[in-house]
């Protein structure tokens, strides 16, 4: 009994502690359930009723929806003035779900966006997660919208390229379109470089939300490098003013001027008229976008005699003192070559041929050279292929060569004075620059430096080849100085030796030449003994006077006079006195 009683008491004790254990467990479970309930209630409160007030979620979804895009590189002239930079416009959109009072929002946004209130209301009252309201509003409008404090209105910044100088250097610059793609000129040529590398982002858009809240940024954006140009803002301005004045004065259709450093190939100015404002590129016809200096080919006319004469001098078939009897006509192939004045000039020197611009005399030089040598020299001067300038849209021109289907024997004569051959203004000035540069043909370029955050790439002048010997180039320079003094007095600048040549080119229309209209041109460099610049002036279809000596030469003079000041070139008498 005693044992049983003991056993019974032990059994009671055991069941008591078991119950106690169960109670303890129940208590713990109750505590855990209580804690879980507290958490669930809190979660419901935060997620449903309060939506994490003030804890970052709403702040993380502000009106500005950031898009980590790279900044396009700036474009700066050789003196450090900005020619192209970035500003921002804003695309306005809405998430209608988040709009609390569509009518009120429509009324307040209407005057800012310039849209009727009822039209806005219909946009704000849709059941779509995203509705665009207006594109490209200004910074001021964007700030006004932000100040309204409307929920569900989003502003996305969009890069807009700005050209602070307006039309200045529009053709070499090109422009950037609404998709931030560069077109034409430098903007087109260096587009990929200037763009930099934008950041890619992956975003998840929760149900009912208009904007993604979870992002995975894959890389940091890299801004595009800046371009420092060889163009000089002041020279560009001067050239554009003189060109516009000349086109108006001579009642011409259009014109082009290029100014270049003949020793390096650096383009100091490149202007064409008519031009356009790249800030409003969408307002002008597409034809204006092309840069005539590199994209438009023409028959250069008598300016081309420089090249033929250089070839003759270099090959040794003539010297500056060589004489030729000009009978007024010469038959080359099936064609009779005549002088532009239809006269015979008798016994003339090679310098006379340049000064009087005699077609017959220069045809004598090309025929003396022969087909093979003549066209070899033309190729040496770079005709028939692109110069390789760093601008979009360059064309190669057109050079017919012996053996080609279009070439005929008469081309040897007509090509010598710039007929039947098509060149770009840039090709022409580059070829003549070789004469100015002791025979060395240099590659023209517009970008002097590419400036990155850490790297600096400097463009080194590139000599393509030696087209003619230094001796031939110097002899020709002396001849060209005399040619200007005798044949293009309007291009002379007192105190300076200017070497150059005029051109009055006929314009081919179908199979014939226009009987009246011409292209008046002049290419010259100065000071002749140590050229600091070379300039080509081309005036298309002048109606007041058709001759290059009367139309293009004065433009060259006006530009040269100011260039001597801008480049700090004293008159020859003072400059050479110290030597």
């Amino acid at each position: 009994m005693i044992v049983r009683g003991k056993i019974a008491s032990q059994s009671n004790e055991s069941s008591g502690s078991k119950e106690k254990g169960v109670r303890r467990l129940a208590f713990l479970v109750a505590v855990l359930i209580g804690l879980a309930l507290v958490i669930v209630v809190q979660l419901i409160r935060l997620q449903v009723f309060q939506r994490v007030p003030g804890r970052g979620l709403e702040r993380a979804l502000p009106n500005y929806l950031p898009k980590v895009a790279s900044q396009r590189g700036l474009i700066i002239d050789r003196r450090g003035y900005f020619l192209a930079l970035n500003t921002f416009e804003y695309d306005v959109s809405t998430a209608p779900d988040l709009i609390e009072d569509p009518q009120d929002a429509a009324d307040r946004l209407s005057p800012l966006l310039g849209l009727p209130s009822d039209e806005l209301l219909s946009l704000l009252d849709q059941e779509r997660p995203y509705v665009p309201l207006k594109q490209r509003v200004s910074k001021e409008v964007a700030e006004a919208i932000v100040s309204l404090g409307l929920k569900g209105i989003h502003l996305e910044p969009k890069l807009r390229r700005k050209y602070p100088e307006g039309e200045l250097a529009a053709h070499p610059m090109g422009f950037v379109n609404y998709n931030c793609d560069g077109s034409y000129g430098l903007e087109g040529y260096y587009d990929l470089l200037l763009k930099g590398v934008s950041t890619m982002r992956e975003g998840k858009v929760p149900r009912g939300e208009a904007v993604p809240i979870v992002f995975h940024q894959l890389a940091l954006p890299q801004d595009g490098p800046h371009l420092m140009l060889t163009l000089d803002r002041n020279i560009q301005r001067l050239v554009e003013q003189e060109l516009a004045k000349a086109v108006a004065q001579y009642d011409a259709d259009s014109g082009t001027v290029i100014v270049m450093d003949p020793k390096t190939g650096a383009i100091l100015a490149m202007a064409s008229y008519p031009s356009y404002d790249p800030n409003r590129f969408y307002e002008v016809p597409l034809e204006l976008y092309n840069n005539p200096a590199v994209s438009e080919q023409y028959e250069p006319g008598s300016v081309f005699k420089i090249i033929t004469m250089a070839a003759g001098l270099d090959a040794g078939v003539i010297t500056p003192q060589s004489t030729f009897y000009d009978s007024g006509m010469m038959e080359v192939g099936e064609r009779v070559i005549q002088n532009s004045d239809r006269r015979a000039h008798g016994l003339v020197t090679m310098t006379d041929i340049l000064a009087r611009s005699l077609n017959v005399g220069i045809a004598y030089v090309s025929t003396s050279l022969g087909e093979e040598r003549f066209y070899t020299y033309l190729r040496r001067f770079g005709f028939g292929c692109k110069t390789g300038i760093d601008l979009d849209g360059e064309v190669a021109g057109s050079l017919k060569v012996p053996g080609g289907s279009k070439w005929s024997k008469s081309d040897l004569g007509t090509n010598s004075f710039g007929q039947g051959i098509a060149v770009t203004p840039l090709q022409m000035i580059t070829a003549v620059a070789a004469v100015a540069n002791r025979g060395f043909l240099v590659k023209p370029y517009v970008v002097e430096r590419i400036v990155d955050n850490q790297d600096l790439i400097v463009t080194q002048p590139t000599v393509v080849r030696q087209a003619v010997s230094a001796r031939a180039a110097e002899q020709l320079t002396d001849m060209l100085v005399e040619a200007v003094e005798r044949g293009a007095e309007l291009a002379t600048v007192p105190g300076y030796d200017v070497a150059g040549k005029t051109g009055t080119a006929q314009i081919p229309v179908g199979d014939r030449y226009d009987p009246e209209l011409t292209i008046a041109s002049f290419v010259g460099y100065a000071p002749a003994d140590d050229p600091r610049f070379i300039a080509l002036v081309r005036i298309d279809k002048p109606r007041v006077d058709s001759r290059g000596a009367q139309v293009a030469a004065p433009v060259f003079k006006a530009i040269a006079e100011r260039l001597f000041v801008l480049l700090g070139v004293p008159p020859d008498s003072i400059r050479l006195a110290g030597r």
Partner: protein
């Protein structure tokens, strides 16, 4: 013998079961606690990562805003420096384009300076008349006006003498 069996048999399973249950419960609680701890750590970590992400985005946004402001300010400055604006301002101030320039022939003018200016990309007619500074004059200008005194001055003098000596040795 029988009593000893009676004593031990009925108790052993019950006590063992209770011990087993208590032990299991302790383990379950421990595991639950650990799981809870791990969960709490994970949640805390996730929360911190999430917060950091929002902060990062805020900073990015701030950076973008500042970049845009910077670009706008630069545009305003450049606008003010544009040629038409400068020309208009110059006209208002009574300036006119220079005409009738006269160049002076300076005897013994160092021609090298012109070359130097040109190679440095410096332009402008007026600069050509600026005589080139003598190198010794440049050195003299660079020397400080108030020389250090005492040991420092003595040490500087020793160094300069040593440099001079080293520079003049063949």
């Amino acid at each position: 013998m029988a009593s000893s069996q009676m004593r031990s048999l009925p108790h052993c399973p019950e006590r063992g079961s209770w011990r087993f249950e208590a032990k299991t419960t302790a383990w379950v609680l421990l595991v639950l606690t650990l799981l809870g701890l791990i969960g709490w750590l994970c949640l805390t970590q996730a929360s911190q990562v999430s917060t950091a992400r929002y902060h990062l985005r805020e900073k990015e946004e701030e950076k973008g805003r500042l970049q845009r402001e910077n670009a706008e300010l630069l545009a305003e400055i450049v606008e003010m420096l544009s040629i038409p604006r400068l020309e208009a301002r110059a006209r208002d101030l009574g300036y006119a384009p220079a005409e009738g320039l006269q160049y002076l022939d300076v005897p013994d003018y160092p021609a090298a300076c012109t070359e130097l200016c040109r190679s440095n990309g410096v332009s402008g007619g007026g600069l050509a008349a600026v005589p080139r500074l003598d190198e010794s004059a440049v050195v003299a200008l660079e020397e400080p006006r108030h020389k250090p005194l005492g040991v420092a001055r003595w040490w500087e003098r020793v160094i300069s003498q040593f440099v001079a000596w080293a520079g003049t040795q063949p």
